[in-house]
C-alpha cells in the first residue's frame, strides 16, 4: 500500500494536469474543481505514507534507468521527507481551493490549474526522490512550472514591474542557484560513483578538502531557493507579481525546498565534525537575513512585498537553526518550515483577500478593514501574532528550539542577536495589521464581496495555526525522528 501511495502522490496530479491540458476545451469550466480534487487526493495519499516510517518500514520504489552509470531512479519516503511532503501537498491543495474563489485564470483556467498541479507535484517529487538524477529533474521542473505561471498569469496592473522581466529574473537567479546545486551533485557523484541516496547514506569517502567545496556549493545553491539575504533578489518581485495562489505556493512551500536540500545533502552526507567550520557563518548569515528581511518589511509600501520580505526574515531563523548543527536547532528549523508554511500561506491569503476586495495594493491606501472584513481581520490577527512568535501559537515553539540550539553551541552573542531580531518581526507584523485593519478608513476604499472558497482555506489555516501551536508535542516528535538521522546520527 505504501509503495502505491508513493507513486500516486506524484503520478495522480501529473495525470490530472495532463488531462486538463489535453482536454482543455471540455474541462474549461470544471478545471479548478478537478485540480482541487486531485490535490486533495494527493494530500490523502501523502498522509497514507505515514504508517510506513512509523512502523520502521520505509516505502521505496526503484527503477534501473542507466545501469552502466549505476543510476537507479527511486522514490522513498523517510522521516526527513515526510514533514516536507505533507507541507507541500497541503499547501498546494489549499492554494488551488483558494484560486477557485479568486477566479484567477479566466479563459485559460485548465492550463493554469494544470501548471499549479505540476508545480505541486514537482515539489512532492523533489522531496520523495531517492537519487540525484530524479531530485534534480523535479527541482528544475519546479522552477519551470513556477516561472511559466508568473510569466503568463502574473500581475499586469499599471505601476507593477513587467511580468516578463520579473519571470526572467526569477528564472535566471534561481537557475544560477540550481547550477551550483548541480555542480555539487556532480562532485558527489564523481566521488561516490553512485547517485542513489540509499548508497550515499551508507557512507562515502570524500576527501576533506572536497567536503568544504561541496558543502559551500550546496549551501549557496539551496540558499538561493531559500531566498536568504543576499541571495534573495528574485523573491520580492516574484512574490509581488505572481498570481496569489502561486505566491502562496512559492512562499509557503517552495522556499522550504531549499531547507530540504540542505537537510538532505550536506547535513545527511557529512558528519557534524566535518561541517563545524560552516556553523558560525551559517548562524551569522541567518541573523543577517532575519534582520535585513524584517527591516525591509518594515519600510515596504506594497502589502505583498511586506509579507514577501517577511519570508527573507523567516528563512534567516531557519538558516540560524540549521547552522547550530544541534538536534534542537535542526528540529526547530524543520518545525519552523512547517509553521512558517502555514502562517505565510495564511498571511498571503489575507493579503490576497484585501487586494481582491479593495483593488488597492499600497499599505497607505488601505485601512479600517476590520468592519468590512471581520473574518479576514480575525485570521490576520492570528497570523500576525503567530509570525511574531507569540505563544502558544506555533512559531513560538520552533523559535524556542532554534534559539535553545543556538545557546547550546555556546554562541550566546549570536543567539541574543537573533532573539533581539524578533522585535523587528513584531514591529513589521504590527504595522501590517494596524495599517490594514485598525487605522482610519481612507475615503475611497470600496470593499467587494468575497466567495466562500477564498475564506475556507484561510479559516482552515487559522484553525491549524492555533491547534498545532497549542499542541506542538506530536509535531515535534514527528520532526525529531528525521533530524536524529542527520549529521551521521547527530551528537
Amino acid at each position: 500500500m505504501s509503495e502505491v501511495a508513493l507513486c500516486i502522490v506524484i503520478a495522480e496530479p501529473v495525470a490530472v494536469a495532463v488531462a486538463l491540458l489535453v482536454l482543455s476545451r471540455q474541462m474549461a469550466h470544471s478545471a479548478g474543481w478537478w485540480a482541487a480534487a486531485a490535490s486533495l487526493i494527493a494530500v490523502a495519499f501523502a498522509f497514507a505514507l505515514w504508517p510506513g516510517p512509523n512502523q520502521g518500514q520505509v516505502p521505496v520504489l526503484t527503477l534501473a534507468w542507466h545501469p552502466t552509470a549505476r543510476i537507479v531512479l527511486g522514490l522513498r519516503c523517510d522521516w526527513i521527507t515526510h514533514p516536507f511532503l505533507i507541507t507541500t501537498t497541503v499547501i498546494t491543495a489549499l492554494s488551488i481551493i483558494y484560486a477557485l474563489g479568486l477566479h484567477h485564470a479566466g479563459h485559460h483556467a485548465p492550463a493554469f490549474y494544470a501548471l499549479l498541479l505540476l508545480f505541486g507535484a514537482s515539489m512532492s517529487g523533489t522531496t520523495l526522490a531517492d537519487n540525484m538524477t530524479l531530485f534534480y529533474t523535479f527541482w528544475e521542473l519546479m522552477l519551470i512550472t513556477s516561472a511559466l505561471l508568473i510569466l503568463v498569469w502574473g500581475d499586469a496592473s499599471p505601476g507593477s514591474p513587467p511580468r516578463r522581466a520579473v519571470a526572467m529574473k526569477y528564472f535566471l537567479v534561481t537557475h544560477a542557484g540550481s547550477i551550483l546545486v548541480l555542480l555539487a551533485l556532480i562532485a558527489v557523484y564523481n566521488q561516490a560513483g553512485v547517485d542513489g541516496f540509499s548508497a550515499l547514506r551508507n557512507g562515502v569517502k570524500i576527501p576533506e578538502k572536497m567536503i568544504s567545496t561541496i558543502t559551500l556549493l550546496f549551501l549557496v545553491g539551496f540558499g538561493v531557493k531559500m531566498a536568504v539575504f543576499p541571495l534573495h533578489v528574485w523573491l520580492p518581485d516574484a512574490h509581488t507579481i505572481a498570481p496569489m495562489p502561486v505566491t502562496i505556493m512559492l512562499a509557503a512551500a517552495m522556499l522550504s525546498m531549499g531547507v530540504y536540500g540542505i537537510l538532505r545533502f550536506p547535513l545527511s552526507l557529512f558528519e557534524g565534525a566535518q561541517l563545524t567550520s560552516f556553523a558560525v557563518p551559517m548562524m551569522i548569515a541567518g541573523v543577517a537575513s532575519e534582520v535585513y528581511g524584517a527591516f525591509m518589511a518594515l519600510v515596504e509600501k506594497h502589502v505583498k512585498r511586506v509579507i514577501a520580505y517577511s519570508s527573507v526574515s523567516q528563512m534567516g531563523y531557519i538558516l540560524f537553526g540549521l547552522g547550530t548543527l544541534t538536534q534542537r536547532g535542526l528540529t526547530g528549523a524543520t518545525l519552523h518550515v512547517i509553521y512558517h508554511a502555514m502562517v505565510k500561506a495564511l498571511l498571503f491569503m489575507v493579503t490576497g483577500i484585501v487586494v481582491h476586495a479593495t483593488g488597492k495594493r499600497l499599505i497607505h491606501e488601505l485601512g479600517g478593514l476590520r468592519q468590512d472584513l471581520p473574518t479576514t481581520t480575525l485570521c490576520a490577527v492570528i497570523g500576525v501574532l503567530a509570525i511574531a512568535g507569540t505563544p502558544p501559537l506555533g512559531i513560538f515553539s520552533s523559535e524556542w528550539m532554534i534559539f535553545s540550539g543556538g545557546a547550546e553551541t555556546g554562541a550566546l552573542a549570536l543567539t541574543a542577536a537573533a532573539i533581539v531580531g524578533t522585535l523587528l518581526t513584531v514591529a513589521y507584523a504590527l504595522r501590517f495589521l494596524v495599517h490594514l485593519f485598525f487605522s482610519d478608513v481612507p475615503a475611497d476604499v470600496q470593499v467587494r464581496s468575497l466567495s466562500s472558497a477564498v475564506l475556507l482555506p484561510m479559516v482552515c489555516l487559522t484553525v491549524l495555526t492555533i491547534v498545532m501551536g497549542a499542541w506542538p508535542a506530536p509535531l515535534i516528535r514527528w520532526v525529531s525522528h528525521g533530524t536524529s538521522l542527520l549529521l551521521g546520527g547527530l551528537r
Binding site: K169, L180, L298, P391, P392, V420, L423
Partner: protein, 467 residues
C-alpha cells in the same frame, strides 16, 4: 507525561480543587463573560459575578499557602523542555494572594467609575498567577507573553483615546522585556541544562564571567522594563487614558509586581558578580535622581504614580544589588496595597489634572537638573523611533544595491544605484557601467548574463583548484 495534573507522589483532591478554583474559576469567568457578550466597557455597574470570582480566587490562593514547597506538575507542552509545573508556597504564592486581593479591593473602591473589560482582566489574573507560581522558566515566559498580549488588547477594547497607538506601545515595550528574559533563559538552559527555576538559578550561582553577565543582563533588562523604570516606562504612560481598574491594577500593579518578583528570584545572581552589582547600584541611584527630578517637575497625578512605581523599582534594584533578598520580598509585599491605593487615587483624580498641570519647580529647574535629563530623553527617543526608521532606510539602500546587480531593467538598475550611493560615487559607477555597456551588448540588462558567467567561471576555478 501528558495532560494530567499530578502533585508530588500523592495527589490530593483538596489541593487540586483549590488550584482549580484559584486559576480556573477566573478563566471560566472570563470565557463566560466573553461568550455571553456582557460587555462591561462603558457601563458604570460591575457585573455581580466579578467580586464572587475574585473572592473565590483570593481565598483559594490563600488556602494554597498551607502547602509550602509542593510541586504541581501540569503537563508537558514542549517535549524537550520538561513538564510545566507550579510551585506552591514561597513568596510567589504570597504575591499572588496580595495581587488578587488588590483587584478585589480596587473593585470595591472604584464602584461608579467607568468599567474595565472584565473578561480580559480575569484572563490576565489567571496568567499572572500562573506566572507567580510557575516553577519552570518556560511556563513563566509563556505566561508573561500572554499577559503582555492581554494588556495590549485592553486599550483596544476600552476604545480609549489613541487606543491603537497605546496597544502597539504596550506590546512592543513588554516584548522588549521578554526578549531580555528569553536571552537569560537561553543562557541558563545552555549552562545548566534545566528549565526548573530553582535548579537553574542554583546552578547558575556557580557560573562566572561573560556567561553569567549574559544571564543577569537579560534578567535585569526584563526587570527594568516590567517595573517601568525610566526611560522604558512608555507602556505605563498608557494608564492615563485607561479606566481606573485597568490602569491602576493591570498596568500599575500587576506587571511591576511580576517584574519585582523576577528580580527577587535572580537577586543571588545579581549580587554575585561585582561588576553587575555595581552597575545595578549605579542604575538605581541614577534612576532615583531622575525620578525625584520628574516628581519635582511634573505634578500631574498619574505621572506621580508612574514616578512612585519607578522609585520602588530603583529601591528594589538597590536591594538586589546588595544581596538583600528578604528586604526585597518585604518591599514587594508591603508596597502592593500602597501602590494600588496610589494608582487608584491618581486615576480617580482626573479633575486635578486641570488644577495641577506640569509645574516646573523653580529650584530644580534653576539648577538645570531637568536639562541634564533632557538629552537622555531625546537619546531614548532617537533609539526607539528614529533609529529604526534610519536603519530601515539603510536596509532599503542595501537592497537597492543588491537589486541593481541582477535587475533586468536598465532604468531601474540605474535608479537603484543613484538612490543607494552618494551622487559622486553613483556617477562614477554608472560611468563605468556605461563603458562596460558600450563594450559589450549595449544593453545593461545583459549584464546579468555576464555576471552569471563570471560567477560560474570563478566557481569552476574554485572547484578545479580544490581537485
Amino acid at each position: 507525561m501528558t495532560s494530567i495534573v499530578s502533585v508530588g507522589s500523592s495527589p490530593s483532591p483538596i489541593l487540586i480543587a483549590l488550584l482549580g478554583s484559584a486559576l480556573i474559576v477566573p478563566l471560566l469567568g472570563s470565557l463566560g463573560l466573553t461568550v455571553l457578550k456582557r460587555r462591561s466597557v462603558g457601563r458604570t455597574r460591575t457585573p455581580q459575578v466579578i467580586p464572587v470570582i475574585l473572592a473565590i480566587s483570593t481565598l483559594s490562593l490563600a488556602a494554597l499557602l498551607i502547602y509550602p514547597g509542593e510541586d504541581v506538575y501540569l503537563f508537558t507542552w514542549l517535549p524537550d523542555a520538561g513538564p510545566s509545573s507550579l510551585h506552591l508556597g514561597g513568596l510567589g504564592g504570597w504575591v499572588a494572594v496580595a495581587t488578587t486581593a488588590s483587584l478585589l479591593v480596587g473593585l470595591m473602591l472604584v464602584s461608579g467609575d467607568r468599567q474595565p473589560p472584565w473578561a480580559l482582566l480575569l484572563s490576565a489574573l489567571t496568567v499572572a498567577n500562573v506566572s507567580f507560581l510557575a516553577s519552570d522558566f518556560l511556563t513563566r515566559y509563556v505566561a508573561l507573553e500572554i499577559l503582555g498580549l492581554t494588556m495590549a488588547v485592553v486599550p483596544l477594547v476600552e476604545r480609549c483615546p489613541h487606543h491603537v497607538h497605546h496597544a502597539k506601545t504596550t506590546f512592543m515595550y513588554l516584548r522588549l522585556g521578554d526578549v531580555g528574559l528569553l536571552i537569560a533563559i537561553m543562557g541558563l538552559m545552555a549552562s545548566t541544562g534545566t528549565l526548573s527555576i530553582a535548579h537553574a538559578l542554583d546552578m547558575a550561582s556557580r557560573l562566572h564571567g561573560a556567561h553569567l553577565r549574559w544571564i543577569t543582563g537579560g534578567m535585569l533588562t526584563a526587570v527594568w522594563i516590567k517595573t517601568a523604570a525610566w526611560p522604558t516606562d512608555g507602556w505605563l504612560q498608557v494608564t492615563k487614558d485607561l479606566s481606573s481598574v485597568s490602569g491602576g491594577w493591570l498596568y500599575g500593579l500587576l506587571m511591576p509586581n511580576l517584574g519585582l518578583y523576577l528580580l527577587y528570584r535572580v537577586t543571588p545572581l545579581v549580587s554575585r558578580d561585582p561588576i553587575v552589582s555595581w552597575l545595578a547600584l549605579g542604575l538605581s541611584g541614577a534612576g532615583v535622581l531622575i525620578a525625584v527630578v520628574r516628581i519635582m517637575s511634573d505634578l500631574r497625578p498619574w505621572q506621580l504614580a508612574v514616578s512612585v512605581t519607578a522609585l520602588l523599582s530603583y529601591g528594589a534594584l538597590a536591594a538586589a544589588a546588595t544581596g538583600h533578598q528578604t528586604m526585597l520580598a518585604w518591599l514587594l509585599l508591603a508596597s502592593t496595597p500602597l501602590r494600588m491605593a496610589c494608582w487608584l487615587q491618581s486615576q480617580r483624580a482626573p479633575r486635578l489634572t486641570d488644577l495641577m498641570p506640569r509645574i516646573p519647580t523653580s529650584g530644580i529647574r534653576g539648577k538645570g537638573l531637568t536639562r541634564v535629563t533632557e538629552p537622555i530623553h531625546q537619546g531614548w527617543d532617537i533609539v526607539t523611533h528614529k533609529f529604526v526608521a534610519l536603519a530601515a532606510g539603510w536596509a532599503a539602500r542595501l537592497h537597492g544595491l543588491a537589486t541593481s546587480v541582477v535587475s533586468p531593467h536598465p532604468q531601474s538598475a540605474r535608479q537603484s544605484w543613484e538612490n543607494a550611493l552618494p551622487r559622486a560615487v553613483a556617477r562614477s559607477v554608472l560611468g563605468f557601467c556605461r563603458r562596460l555597456q558600450e563594450a559589450h551588448s549595449g544593453q545593461l540588462r545583459r549584464n546579468i548574463q555576464w555576471a552569471t558567467l563570471g560567477l560560474l567561471a570563478f566557481l569552476a576555478w574554485m572547484v578545479a583548484d580544490a581537485w
